[in-house]
């Protein structure tokens, strides 16, 4: 992830050790909004910055756009260094090969839809030598489904239409890099799902390198080639959505992406086929592990995804399978979700969330056996 031999042919964006503080760092203010962030975005890929509110996603994106000046670090974009704190140079926003869809779309109320979309062609960085501007703009509006609206005032569009207009405008500026800051957050749930599919389709169609900011994990998983999970200004993990879900490196990621049972570890020892972790609920054999090195033998969590757990009524439990982690508990609550059943199982005062098939007949108070394969039991050192 921090391989710094910047190869402009492979990566469209390289960010190295980016730091940004809104306070004055020299006055001893240690709080960084973005604190040592490094990642790369390969050409044509769709990368998402994901994290809770206030973790520095927008700040990172604005540094990429040149709208904020970082305190330190380096940014290379399309083979060209656009920011380098060490050498004190910064390429201004208007000279970076970018386009942006801001959170509130930034649709100019004093212009028509057509004028909004055509702005990059008429006045943008590629304005010289543009021809057939109107026709090309109309074609683009047609592609995003706004062909009938070209002569309307931009304020007369609905939220979803404004978002598509902002996208059309961004695409018309023919960027190397498309930056999107929570462009779907103002929309209702249904439209959000529809538009995010459209968005991904456009991105693939135009093959433009994209950096997308969201705090919605479902959106991130659905859209991205790679997800960068951030927390408190730092990067927690960079991975594909599948790996992020199946192999979280930290308990923060495990908890933030999907749902997870995190059981605090009391003692950890390395064994031939993984880790043996003692917890308040008993010992777990973890065949899978997060970070490479355990910082100490007594910290961390055992992570179990609810859908990786088998639940059996105590009396009809199949014979113990060798090497499976198995604990006994009592059903503390059950929620029927149509296709499945979500159970809360109380084990020695700790509640585990598990997903069972809808057919299971379990009532509150029933004793059950909970079983997880070591391959699905993951030890996370931090």
């Amino acid at each position: 992830m921090s391989n710094m031999s910047a190869q402009p042919t492979a990566s469209s964006i390289t960010i190295h050790e980016l730091r940004k503080s809104y306070g004055r760092p020299r006055a001893g203010d240690p709080s960084y909004a973005v604190d040592g962030v490094s990642f790369e975005v390969p050409k044509g890929q769709f990368v998402t910055l994901l994290g809770p509110s206030g973790c520095g996603k927008t700040t990172t994106l604005r540094c990429l756009a040149g709208l904020e000046q970082p305190d330190s670090g380096r940014i290379v974009m399309a083979g060209r260094t656009v920011f380098d704190a060490g050498q004190r140079h910064q390429v201004r926003t208007e000279e970076r090969p970018i386009a942006m869809v801001p959170q509130h779309y930034g649709i100019w109320p004093h212009m028509t839809v057509l004028d909004n979309a055509a702005f990059p062609l008429r006045h943008g960085r590629a304005r010289k030598g543009q021809q057939n501007i109107k026709q090309r703009t109309l074609e683009m509006l047609d592609q995003v489904g706004l062909s009938g609206f070209a002569d309307r005032w931009a304020t007369q569009l609905s939220g979803g239409q404004q978002q598509r207009l902002a996208l059309a405008r961004a695409l018309l500026s023919e960027p190397e890099v498309l930056l999107l800051d929570e462009p779907l957050s103002n929309l209702d749930a249904k439209l959000r799902v529809k538009l995010r599919m459209e968005l991904r389709a456009f991105q693939e169609q135009f093959g433009v390198t994209s950096v997308y900011v969201t705090h919605d994990q479902a959106e991130a998983l659905a859209l991205s080639d790679t997800v960068v999970v951030m927390n408190g200004g730092r990067i927690e993990q960079i991975d594909s959505p599948e790996r992020l879900y199946q192999q979280p490196r930290t308990s923060f990621v495990a908890d933030f992406i999907g749902s997870a049972n995190l059981i605090p570890a009391r003692h950890v020892s390395e064994v031939s086929n993984g880790f043996l972790v003692q917890t308040d609920l008993g010992a777990f054999l973890c065949a899978s592990r997060g970070q490479q090195k355990a910082t100490s033998s007594e910290t961390g969590h055992v992570c179990i995804r609810p859908e990786n757990v088998e639940v059996h009524p105590l009396h009809s439990s199949p014979a113990n399978v060798a090497d499976h982690n198995e604990i006994a508990g009592v059903v503390a609550g059950a929620e029927f979700l149509g296709d499945r059943l979500e159970l809360l199982v109380d084990v020695k005062g700790t509640r585990l969330t598990v997903t069972a098939s809808a057919g299971l007949s379990a009532r509150t108070g029933d004793p059950v056996v909970v079983r997880v394969q070591p391959a699905h039991t993951r030890y996370l050192a931090s």
């Binding site: 000046q69 926003t93 090969p97 942006m100 930034g106 100019w108 004093h110 304005r127 018309l172």
Partner: protein, 589 residues
């Protein structure tokens, strides 16, 4: 970059030409911007600072009648003689009484009105509340003349009305000046207090009501302390305005020689007989400047502190109004009477007199010989065409130049693009503390002694008025800029449009309602601004407001003066109406 085949234009087909990265924080055009800033700094310095320095310089040249530049050496004789004369004491006392008195009148009236209209169920507030603000459209010179006509002891309608119930009033006196200035100050004060009262959470007052505190106590213990910051800020601003106000103390105080600082300065420079006393005027000017700056500093400090104890929240509360109960009708009658006497009657009397053959009380019989003769006389008088032309030139040039320069200063300060932008903005807002009579005197000195041939032309008035209105212009535009969505500007910047294009295509169009409003505001105020035009006037550059002053004071022709006042009032009202109409349209949009 890999391009997929589409019928749309290829994305990113050509990489941008390699460019030299720029140094952090400065782009092309940066130097041009700094140059404009430097030029404007020179201009503002030239408009405001240089005249003030010359004023200060003159105050150290002891001579009663000679031009200060003809006097060799420096001395503090002027100051000594002023501090030794009895006049300083009496003028300072007058100024203090006048200022404090007017402030109290404004404060009490506007607090009562704002509370009644914002917080109680007083009937008819839809009509009465706008009426309270209507005097904003009346230039202060017109106000003073209207009151002189309505309340002069010999034939003013109000004076005659009150005489019948045994009250004798004379507007040409200190109490008269205080009442008129106090009433004139109400709209601007009301505008600052009413929003604070409107935002006040009613629950705070209701909580006191539930423990049984009567209305007066609730007001004193809960409401007043909570709106305290807004009230004190408004008060200090009004003090600056009262202090520099010229038309009211001059028109109402001069006949019985009641001087305050501003009227004394004009009187020393333009005595009805004898020679101008330059050193006295400049010394009083310096004293007044110091006083005004002190007030402004206190005000700015106060504003800064006000943020800290802001209890008042802006959330949309359920509007519950305090019921006035059986006082409802008596209170509304009192308010209506005040509105009639304070707002409607002066304008009515002005109109009446302007249509009458001579100054006389309003009577039914008088209706018969109303005519437009005065207007015809005024408009066909010799030199009137030139006066109209002068006025139009001064007002249009002032409004346009002040808006344009103010826009640059506010935009540059807000966007922090060029070095010195912030300082420039601060410098113009300091110019706000220069009383207009002092500014007028200072500009007069400058051009009397530095042979630049615009003395006696309309340009000298325009120059001084631009300096006067620049702080207001940049402040008004800054407020609009603060409300502008920064995202709209950034959206344009990321397309790669040049800063110039972003400003021209996005920023200025988005600001245009505010620019138009600022222009109209300055237009209306430049029209009625008396002291500068009066001090800088000569035979060739007379404006309407100077004509009005001359007609009223020298020839004492009330009907003709009224006709002139009505003409000014009409133009100003149209401008103010346009400002407010645009305001309303923005809210609807």
């Amino acid at each position: 970059m890999s391009v997929k085949t589409t019928e749309a234009p290829a994305v990113g087909a050509a990489p941008p030409p390699p460019q030299q990265p720029k140094r952090i924080g400065r782009g092309p055009g940066g130097w041009a911007g700094i140059a404009v800033n430097a030029a404007l700094a020179l201009l503002v310095g030239y408009l405001v600072l240089v005249p003030l320095v010359i004023l200060l310089y003159s105050s150290f040249k002891a001579s009663a009648t000679d031009l200060p530049f003809d006097v060799p050496g420096f001395s503090v004789d002027n100051y000594i003689s002023i501090f030794q004369s009895g006049q300083l004491g009496s003028v300072a006392l007058n100024t203090a009484i006048y200022t404090v008195g007017s402030l109290l009148v404004s404060l009490v009236l506007s607090l009562c009105l704002a509370y009644l209209f914002e917080r109680t169920d007083i009937p008819g507030r839809k009509i009465l509340a706008p009426l309270a603000l209507a005097p904003m459209a009346v230039p202060v010179t017109v106000t003073a003349i209207a009151w002189a006509i309505v309340a002069n002891p010999s034939n003013g309608p109000l004076a005659i009305l009150l005489r019948q119930i045994g009250i004798h009033i004379n507007v040409y006196s200190m109490p008269g000046m205080i009442m008129v200035m106090g009433i004139f100050g109400v709209p601007s004060m009301y505008l600052m207090i009413a929003p604070a009262l409107g935002r006040l959470n009613p629950e705070l007052e209701e909580a006191a009501a539930t423990v049984g505190a009567p209305l007066i106590r609730r007001l004193r213990l809960i409401v007043l302390p909570l709106i305290g910051p807004a009230v004190s800020a408004a008060s200090m601003l009004l003090v600056v305005v009262i202090l520099e106000g010229f038309a009211i103390p001059a028109l109402l105080g001069l006949p019985n020689r009641t001087f305050v600082f501003s009227s004394l300065i004009q009187f020393s420079l333009q005595p009805p007989s004898g020679f101008a006393n330059y050193s006295k005027a400049s010394t009083y000017g310096v004293l007044m400047l110091v006083l005004s700056f002190a007030m402004l500093m206190v005000y700015r400090r106060r504003i800064r502190d006000a943020h800290r104890f802001r209890v008042v929240s802006g959330k949309g509360y359920r509007q519950t109004r305090t019921p006035l109960g059986r006082w409802r009708i008596p209170v509304v009658i009192v308010v209506a009477v005040y509105m009639f006497l304070g707002v409607v009657l002066p304008v009515l009397a002005l109109l009446w007199t302007s249509l009458s053959p001579y100054a006389r009380p309003i009577t039914w019989d008088g209706l018969r010989d109303l005519s437009l003769t005065n207007y015809a006389n005024v408009l066909t008088a010799r030199g009137m065409g030139q006066t109209m032309l002068n006025t139009a030139e001064v007002v249009l040039v002032t409004a346009t130049a002040a808006t344009a320069i103010g826009t640059w200063i506010a935009v540059a300060a807000a966007r922090r693009r060029f070095r010195g932008s912030g300082m420039l903005f601060e410098a113009t807002s300091l110019a706000f503390g220069v009383p207009s009579i002092v500014l007028g005197a200072a500009v007069l000195y400058l051009y009397l002694f530095v042979p630049i041939p615009i003395y006696g032309t309309v340009w000298i008035i325009a120059v001084a008025l631009v300096a006067r209105f620049l702080p207001r212009a940049s402040r008004l535009i800054q407020t609009a800029l603060l409300q502008l969505d920064e995202g709209l500007i950034e959206a344009a910047r990321v397309t790669g449009a040049s800063p110039f294009t972003v400003t021209r295509k996005i920023l200025l169009p988005l600001l245009s309602p505010a620019l138009w409003k600022t222009w109209l505001w300055i237009f209306a105020h430049a029209l009625g601004e008396l002291p500068i035009a009066l001090l800088l006037t000569s035979s060739d550059n007379r404006t309407l407001v100077v004509e009005l002053w001359n007609t009223f004071t020298s020839s004492a022709d009330y009907p003709q003066a009224s006709a002139l006042a009505v003409i000014i009032l009409m133009i100003s009202t149209i401008a103010v109406w346009l400002v407010n109409r645009r305001g309303a349209a923005e809210v609807e949009a």
